[in-house]
Amino acid sequence: MDLLLPWYVEGTLSPREMEEVRRHLEECALCREELERISREAELIRGVEEGVEVPWTLGELDVETGSQGWWDRLKAWVAARPGDFLVGVALQTALCLVLAFLVFSSLHGKRYVTLSSPMVKGAQVVVVFHGKVREEEMRKVLLEVGATIVGGPSPQGAYKLGFSRPLTREELERVLEKLRTRPEVKFAARCGKG
């Protein structure tokens, strides 16, 4: 019981222990004397500690801490948010990333050049594909000859084809010959200066 006296003096025992010690002290003169000694000892020690001069070092810390960097602030902000909020932010971020990926891949996936593609310098060939030819097959043909669609389709289904640079007569002839051998192509001819 006497081992509890230092904390009884400070009043930091649990209520149950405080009561137990109090009842014991009523019957034990030795412990009452010890309690007196401990009280004086505690008061002296508190006085000693209060007398310890404390240096003011906040100025030293100011220089070192400065303002928290953006990463520390971000960590603190994240740590202060509730878990549900963070899950929501994570899901939204993931969704944005998925959408961005889809948009990016649609822009840079298959090379689909619109009719007004700025890369093509004028139409030099006109071609008509058979009715049942699929778009993929048309693209394959165009890739083989290095052409892109720059106009059409007309009501008759004719497409004007252009090239990355104006082709010479001989080059055009070779392209036309190649087009005409393709089963997908119904008709191919020069269309003059584009």
Binding site: L3, L4, P6, W7, E10, T12, L13, S14, R37, I38, R40, E41, A42, L44, I45, R46, G47, V48, E49, G51, V52, V54, P55, T57, L58, E60, L61, D62, E64, T65, S67, Q68, D72, R73, K75, A76, W77, A79, A80
Partner: protein
């Protein structure tokens, strides 16, 4: 409620509020410094470690979740630092627990120079080992309960009680040698 106020300060410090840090510093630092000074017995080292403790409070405030009281958390930081520093010296100091003080100057001449009872107590405390100084300081000055001390020191409650018993016993022996008979 004091712990609520400290919690609010920690939350603001976690968001980078330097003013809140200054307020907490004013509240906490004197207690932290005095603890370090008492255990280390060296004012310069106490100052250095005290700064390290406050820096760790500044950096760690953002991730403090409030599982413990703010003061308990800060004591944990301070204690870890001070005992890491003392680890090498701990063996030396534990030997001092057996030492009878033959090399200390308890002569009447020297003792007469220490007039004030408080000064005598301060001198006597300096003759104890860091573990004994620590337990007396935490109980009498910082007002920690048995359970808090048990948790902070990471020892069972009974160990705290016996450590306090031996600390007081040793203190009494030193004061008796100094001629301060009250604690005989």
């Amino acid at each position: 409620m004091e712990s609520g106020r400290h919690l609010e300060l920690i939350r603001r410090i976690g968001a980078g509020d330097k003013k809140a840090f200054e307020v907490l510093y004013g509240d906490i630092y004197p207690r932290v410094y005095r603890y370090l000074r008492r255990v280390l017995g060296d004012p310069e080292m106490a100052r250095e470690l005290g700064n390290e403790v406050m820096m760790e409070v500044w950096r760690g405030a953002g991730s403090f979740r409030g599982e413990a009281r703010v003061l308990t958390w800060i004591w944990g930081i301070a204690r870890k630092k001070v005992w890491r520093f003392l680890r090498g010296a701990e063996r030396e100091f534990s030997e001092l627990e057996e030492w009878d003080g033959a090399h200390e100057d308890y002569s009447p001449h020297h003792m007469a120079q220490i007039q004030d009872l408080k000064e005598k107590m301060a001198w006597a405390l300096g003759r104890l080992s860091p573990k004994h100084r620590e337990v007396l300081h935490l109980a009498y000055y910082q007002g920690l309960s048995l359970e808090e001390m048990s948790s902070l020191l990471d020892v069972p409650v009974n160990t705290v009680k016996t450590r306090m018993f031996y600390a007081r016993k040793k203190l009494g022996e030193v004061l008796k040698k100094m001629g301060v008979v009250e604690h005989g």
